[in-house]
Structures are given as structure tokens and as C-alpha cells.
Symmetry: C2
């Protein structure tokens, strides 16, 4: 499916834009292709884009002072990703985004999103709805991280995103759950 | 300060509403007073409101099957609180909101917020901005929970909200950090 159609289907789940509104909104996006292993955002970068995944799978991750990796998000087609703290706060990125597979994304700049939201009320509605869903999902994950053991959280992740099991290396799933690869290996074999 | 003025000052930090727009928006709110110890939301409730705190302090919390409490949020004047998953998803509440002190809040129903957002573009902008900030804060807390030890997270909380130290019992701060009261006591005396 072409990028425009994919984005349109995604947005129509939340709000109906007229053809003219959608054409104007789509004009704010550019397309990018990245190879497996490439970084789209590196900690320390000044960033100005959020990404809508068209094809492939990317990971949003943080590396601490002891070089331990924490995965915040896996984003597949139909998902958005960026360092939102840096994007909205104007600060430098503290997290990284890297490609788990070859990837194609649509990019929307900060300025582009704000302009589109101002001009087209329906677009502002879409982004409010999107941010609300992200917030609700983030709160659920926080509570699950505090309350549930790794086995429960692993099953929760695989139930929510069954396709991850085949695409994403187990060491990255371990880094999402905040455990070592060995712990995850024991879970898979228990 | 009166409720209308407090809400106006809060909203003006994000967006300038005309007097007519603000009056119309304020018409969607009602005022409620609650006593220390009262519950505003109980797990299992059907809920239809989000709350803007005018006076006092409330806690949003979850109690698991082993009766262990996890505090998700402390909300003081100028903060919003609800069970957003239930509010937006139409499901029953899974968390509770209780009053740490005598409390006065403004209530905005789901229907009221959606109507106001549809009628007044600036209001939709305000709520998009608000949800984005909540999402960014929630992601930061998730990362901090995964990456930092309790001592660091305790200092982070008290630096962000120094007033909590005097208002909130230590057992609730422990339940926010996901540790026992004894662990927090040791931190305070180390």
C-alpha cells in the first residue's frame, strides 16, 4: 500500500478528514528509508521529527552510564516514534531510535505538526487523541512494571504484539522487560 | 483565588482564550469539595469525570491482589487527575483516587470535554498540549523506574515537588517509589 493510503487509513480510525484536508496534511510529511542497524536518532542529537512507521520495525531505547540498554518502545507499521521529551521541550535527545529491520517511515517536523494543527482543527483532534492513547498506554506499562513479575509482563507483551516474537531478537525483548537475556531464556524454557 | 481565575491562569500558560471562549469553557465545569480520607474514584466505578485540583492534595493509586498499594500520582493545585484508561475507554475504573487533605476540585465530564474541544479549537489545543506533557512525564518516570535506584528516585521526586515532603505521609511516598516504608526510612537516615 502506498504511504499516503496507509496514513489515511490510520488517521481515519480517529477522525474523518475531507480529501482537501488530508492532502494538505500529507503535504507536511516526507519519506525516509533506513537500513537495518541504522540509527534514526542518536542521544545528543538536536531532533525535529516524529516518525510514522510504514514498513519494518524500529526500537526506541536508552543506554545508561553502565552501558545497560532499556527499550522503551518497539514501533511497527502504524506506530509513531520520537524522543518526545526532546521534540516538545527543544532539548537534545536522551534516547536513541534504531532500525531492527530495513525501515520506511514518514517524517513530520515539529513546525509542520504545529502548523497543521493550527490550520486544520481535525488534525489537532487527531493528535490530541493520539497523545491521550500514548499516555494511557504509558501509565498502564508503568503500573505493570511496578506490580507484575517478568513472566506476566513477557506474556502481556507477546499477547499485545504477537508479531514481535518473530521479528525482534530476544535480547531486545529482555531490554524492554528490564531483565537479563538469561532471565528471559529461563522464562521461555520454564 | 476563585476557581475561575485559577483555571484561567492555568490554561493561559498554554493558550490564550478570548473572554467569551473561556466563559463558555468554564460553563462545562462543576465544583466539588471532599474531606480528607474520602474517595473520589473507587476501583470498579463507572466514571465520567476528570478533576482539576483547586485546593488540597489527592492521590491516584492501585491496590493489587495482595493488597499492596502503588501510588501513580500525587495531584496538588494546578494538576489534573482521573483514571484516564477508564475515562477514555469507557471501562470501569481500575484505580482509586483518594484525598490526602481536604480537597476542592473542578470536575469536567467526558462529554463536556469533547463538546468543548469540538466547539473551541483553542480548547482542543490546550488538551493536546496537556496530554503531550502527561505522556512525556509518564515516559520519564517509566525510564527512571527501570534505570535508577530508589535513593535517586526519591531525591528526584522531592526536587520536583518539594511541597510533598510536608504534606504526604512517608508510607505514601514509599508506595509511589514502589518500596517498603522501612526502605524509605533507611534512605532518610542514611
Amino acid at each position: 500500500m502506498d504511504p499516503k493510503q496507509l496514513l489515511k487509513e490510520h488517521i481515519t480510525k480517529t477522525v474523518k478528514l475531507s480529501d482537501d484536508e488530508f492532502d494538505e496534511f500529507f503535504g507536511y510529511f516526507t519519506t525516509e528509508s533506513h537500513k537495518k542497524g541504522q540509527y534514526m536518532i542518536t542521544a545528543g542529537d538536536r531532533i525535529d521529527c516524529e516518525y510514522f512507521v510504514l514498513r519494518g520495525c524500529i526500537k526506541t531505547f536508552y543506554i545508561n552510564d553502565n552501558l545497560k540498554m532499556f527499550v522503551l518502545q518497539f514501533a511497527m507499521p502504524g506506530y509513531w516514534a520520537s524522543d518526545y521529551s526532546a521534540l516538545y521541550g527543544g532539548s537534545r535527545a536522551t534516547i536513541n531510535i534504531g532500525c531492527i529491520t530495513d525501515t520506511e517511515v514518514l517524517c513530520l517536523s515539529n513546525k509542520g505538526r504545529e502548523e497543521a494543527c493550527k490550520k486544520i482543527h481535525h488534525v489537532e483532534h487527531f493528535f490530541r487523541h493520539r497523545m491521550t492513547s500514548e499516555y494511557v498506554a504509558s501509565q498502564k506499562r508503568l503500573l505493570s512494571t511496578m506490580n507484575n513479575d517478568v513472566k506476566y509482563r513477557y506474556e502481556e507483551l507477546i499477547t499485545l504484539f504477537p508479531e514481535l516474537y518473530n521479528i525482534v531478537p530476544k535480547r531486545l525483548i529482555a531490554a524492554y522487560l528490564g531483565v537479563s537475556r538469561e532471565t528471559l531464556y529461563r522464562l521461555n524454557n520454564s
